[in-house]
Symmetry: C2
Subunit: 244 residues, 2 copies
């Protein structure tokens, strides 16, 4: 079963250049490892309409959606409200979560802290990973926090549920530039139209000039495509081949 995914990163701090987003590249690598086909990543503002519209669109376009950021106790944490709006649901306090927060903070409980018990009505709560705090799931949307350490721990605690057939990857490093080898790549994708063939020039690397990636969910297909490409590339062009 092939599953597609989209990631919505929510946070003014990324768009204003204060923080570099590392969550989407972490999720991209992990999803790939699980055989999930990531189709789009969007970084958007802490803006209710933007969040609601984007999450709705992703919900309709991809099998799995992950959001990152905007789930804390402060004024700019409006992801929950935005997602509720995307699904036309109300925001409600989850009674269990509220009780847990009251037990934890005791006399120090306040409105900001209780805001952490708010969920879109009908959300599923998944416990596991860093913090006692659960991951929220609404339809096909998984709501992850923005802090990288917590996001990573939370994702790793749920990733097995996303496992699909793996991608098979072969890598070829060449001594010749793209302008020289393009015709051989074109020939290969003409004969193997389902092959995912990437071509990535590297500047200033003494070992190679272009890294080629060949991928497919069919091991036999990628092996045949690789054999073809290696056969037609000029003598001495290939530095080395890797299997990942």
């Amino acid at each position: 079963m092939d599953r597609t995914a989209g990631i919505v990163v929510i946070g003014n701090e990324i768009l204003s250049g204060k923080v570099s987003d590392t969550n989407s590249s972490f999720l991209a690598r992990e999803l790939r490892r699980m055989g999930v086909d990531l189709r789009r990543v969007c970084v958007i503002r802490d803006d209710l309409d933007d969040i609601a519209r984007t999450v709705r669109q992703f919900h309709e376009s991809y099998d799995l959606v992950f959001t990152s950021g905007g789930v804390g106790p402060t004024h700019d944490d409006i992801t929950i409200e935005g997602i509720a709006r995307a699904f036309g649901r109300r925001v409600v306090r989850d009674p269990d979560l509220e009780q847990k927060l009251r037990d934890f903070y005791k006399e120090k409980v306040n409105d900001a802290r209780l805001k952490m018990s708010e969920v879109p009505e009908g959300a599923e709560l998944i416990y596991g990973g860093a913090l006692a705090f659960p991951t929220m799931k609404i339809e096909n949307v998984y709501v992850l926090p923005g802090i990288p350490e917590i996001l990573q721990s939370k994702f790793l605690s749920i990733r097995e549920r996303f496992a699909a057939d793996p991608f098979h990857l072969r890598i070829v490093y060449t001594r010749e530039g793209e302008g020289m080898i393009a015709e051989f790549l074109n020939d290969t994708v003409r004969l193997f139209p389902e092959l995912m063939l990437g071509s990535y020039p590297k500047i200033g690397d003494p070992e190679y000039v272009v890294k080629l990636t060949l991928e497919s969910k069919s091991l036999e297909y990628v092996e045949r495509a690789l054999a073809h490409l290696l056969r037609i590339l000029p003598d001495g062009c290939v530095v080395k081949t890797e299997i990942l």
Copy 2:
């Protein structure tokens, strides 16, 4: 004059986790420095429809659009064709560019290399920065390459044309967590509704727990908001204040 911007990053290699995108965070920092308000970043596949649809949408939504990636000589470099489709234009060979490529490669010129002379009809070519190769501009869309070193050099060579009023930024580091200070932040944004106020908890930093950012294009406004916030935060809560 306030200008908005969007960035479209084009490349399967990023979505499949092979390469981490650093171009969008570079552009985010640079645009912020120039006073430009970046509203959205999308990472999309090397797919004609995706490129055409996304570039069209960004073109209609933001004052400035930057694309990154997909402009080389190989089969997966289809950004030019996608952008042409976004504007309903044909792809044509630019005669000057074609001549330059023929002069440079001489007897080694081939179709793949001449592909680099293709532009959406009517594109403006801007020379400057790394490589003799120009940056393309179609309407409000600037077409940048995916290789970070070249993208950076190309952007720096054109950035002055984007200069707008700068943002004024003040940073406050606190010893207390978000749950404790949220009410003071809420009070500040209630009194200063135009303030851009960000709150970023840091895990495991011995010096501070939350970094607060206060921003505005009005220096006087951000100074007044900062004075208010510093007045209402509890004694001993502030580690330090920075002006950037």
